[in-house]
Amino acid sequence: MAIEVRDVNKSFGTTPVLRDVSIDVESGSLTALLGPSGGGKSTLLRVIAGLEQPDTGTVRISGVDATRLAPQRRNVGFVFQHYAAFKHLTVFRNVAFGLEIRKRPKDEIRKRVMELLELVHLEQMADRYPSQLSGGQRQRMALARALAVEPEVLLLDEPFGALDAQVRKELRTWLRRLHDEVHVTTVFVTHDQEEAIEVADTIVVLADGEVEQVGSPAEVYDNPANPFVMRFLGPVTEIGGSLVRPHDIEISTEPVEGGTSATVSRVVRLGFEVRVELQVEGRDAWVQVTRGFADQLALTSGDVVSVRPAPGARSLVLATV
């Protein structure tokens, strides 16, 4: 295991932020820490990096107990959400920083830095200052800087959080490819479930300072441990007291076995997909169908239909309130 976090508790003042958190991160994996804002993701990442001390519990990195180790001795790379670029240093000197601290010979530094700048496609920008870079370029510089010291683990706090949607998507794919090339154990924080599913091998869902579920993207999406995880990982709707994914619902104009009767309140066409909004037992619900299927049924508002979870679909029974 590259990182083992055991029973970590952390409070700021009287507010508990991490509660009995235990996670294992496999060597060479790409793990996403996913959860809502304020759930303690950054705090957990900072505890791993040594930028924050846990109140109780231990952190092991590559088998070594690092709980009381200062951050500079942990050999982790950390990329901050707002880049934390060294403003007074050029891109080259930023990336060289860790190597200069380690007093490596000048030509070795030069060679390594240029290699890394090539890796992150910034070789043309070596002599610029961070203020002369775009957000995405700054983020890539921060990544190269963290990689320069050959860290045992790479920790990224919402690496793409401050970028616009287009750049975000590009960098996501790029991060995945980079990881496949460099193979360094990586943990990144995100509150975007799509990003986590697309990029990570393993997802750790963290909410209110507690680990809700750990698993592969498919596992957490298809077999959520509880309603919270199910809601957080994708769209859900409520039918007959169960939580179901809207694309896992069968809809028919004839009454069917095990079906619940519903009234169509609106049909919204969103390109290929069609969103059918329903009233089921006095509650709002919705079903996602393909356009062809919707045309076939020719639904309009006011129609009475029968709905039921598709066979094999995962649904969670909600506790009756």
Binding site: A49, G50, L51, A70, P71, Q72, R74, N75, V76, G77, F78, F80, H82, A84, A85, F86, K87, H88, F97, G98, I101, R102, A142, R145, A146, A148, V149
Partner: protein
Amino acid sequence: MAKYGLRTIAVLYLFFLLVLPVGLIIWRTFGDGLGPFVEALTSASAVHAFQVTLTVALWAVAANTVFGVGTAVLLVRHRFPGKRLLNALIDLPMAVSPVVVGLALILVYGRFAPVGGLLESWGVQVIFSTPGMVLATVFVALPLVVRAVVPVLEELGDDQEQAAHTLGASRLQAFIRITLPGIRWALAYGVVLCLARSLGEYGAVAVVSGRLVDQTQTLTLFVEERFQNFDQPAAFAAATALALIAVITLLLTKLLRPKG
């Protein structure tokens, strides 16, 4: 009309308060050409006063720079009990009259006071000597560096320092390579202000120095003493020199300000 009225009042106010007195000093100084000015400033006493002023100011600036940066880092980056008290104490010198500062120092470090007596037995004379004058100057200029650095340090945040730590830098390395360059303009601004204040200090130094001509006489004390002894050319020449230094530091701070 009201606009012009206000302008006139402002200009007149500044004229009688600032332009006229300073102008007259310069007029008197150079009234008989450069010769008397140079002569007055190169007299043995004047040169000595220059030296004393410079020595005291440099020590005071050095002490306040180290203390100022240290305290600013402490106030912005650390949490500890008594922080608010420290924060309030730093501004105290601004509120206390320099004469009171001088008297207080004599009470502690005077020859017949406990601390002063002890130091004296070790051969260190504080009052009526350079150490006392440095102490007094340090005290009156205490807040200047701290107050210049604190806001910039706050704005800088600790992200960059933490990044440096994760890259292997120790606290000292992060401070020297990251924090110091980040606050350099603010620090320079604070140091220049501190220097100006130290060069111009009169009250506290007057009390602790004993005003010993050719021994503990600083430039400001020299001006006063010459004036009392009806040596107006020397008094005005030294006063002009002080004013020139003030103008230069003012220009320096103007240069440093926008970047800080």
